[in-house]
Symmetry: C2
Subunit: 159 residues, 2 copies
Amino acid sequence: MPTEIFEKKFMHYIDTPSYDMELTSKYCKTLLVQLFDKICCEISPEEFIVLDTISCNKGLCQRDLAKLILKDRANTGRILDSLEKKGFIVRYNDTKNNRLVRKVDITQNGLGMLEKLALRFQPYHEQMCKLFNEEDLLILKASLKKIRDAISKIVELQI
Amino acid sequence: MPTEIFEKKFMHYIDTPSYDMELTSKYCKTLLVQLFDKICCEISPEEFIVLDTISCNKGLCQRDLAKLILKDRANTGRILDSLEKKGFIVRYNDTKNNRLVRKVDITQNGLGMLEKLALRFQPYHEQMCKLFNEEDLLILKASLKKIRDAISKIVELQI
DNA sequence: ATAAGATTGTTGCATTTGCAACATGTATTT
DNA sequence: AAATACATGTTGCAAATGCAACAATCTTAT
């Protein structure tokens, strides 16, 4: 009489949507980095994303920016140091809730860089868009948002 | 006559599904790390993922494993060093295409660890599953696969 | 048959990243 | 009013990561 006919089965993390997304996200990141190698030598992909975020959110303080890009305050500050030195952003002191904060805005120079890069990314962007129909794209975005919202209630993102 | 009535608009990377996924993936990663802090002190989240991958793919050589987890050979080897030292995997020399390779397999000890962790993650896993109906989940997985396949044709993942 | 190239794994190094500690200034508590 | 807690930004440090170079071994080309 065999004692172990059935293999024990358990849930695998690598089968979850979370991990599926992590791998897919790595692909996207690699693509971005490789494109940047060819297309742009002025700023890094990380700096580009931060600049893009700033261009869509005027007058952010550093911590609020950090929350948007999901990096800690230390690294957010370091990236801003670099962007400021290159003249793509300006930092100025201001107050928020009666507290001194350093706010950030994009310069005309930075806007120019973003436009230039957007043009060069356009073909890749269109290629990606062609992969989906409108409905699937909506479901994808909604699913991602559902996941983020659910996780937000569990983890503390102490930024 | 105003020369610039319309603001110049351009595509923003932060609006793309790629970046949406990158942010969502960071949330997932943070959750995983925080759960691990409470639940497990024997292995790191990275080691857990590698162990899980190995348990689902018997007799992988290191490079093939690296391709699965999307890390380079150097770091894959280092993670395996740690898992081997802890007794969760074994490495043995073998040949593949008439070449000497180091293959990897999970130990009974490693399987036990995976089962233990799977049990502890079960509640979180079910919570995540409840977010989606079957159809949306299928569309999500299909969308992610579409993205990976499309990118695979463009980038070289030289691992 | 010898040289050039390819595959696999390891080591060293520089970059990125996140965490803890600190400095400064504000709000709250006692 | 003094003390404690909180918010913001910076610095230092250690861990993670990726890339280049190397060693060893096998295949292919000339």
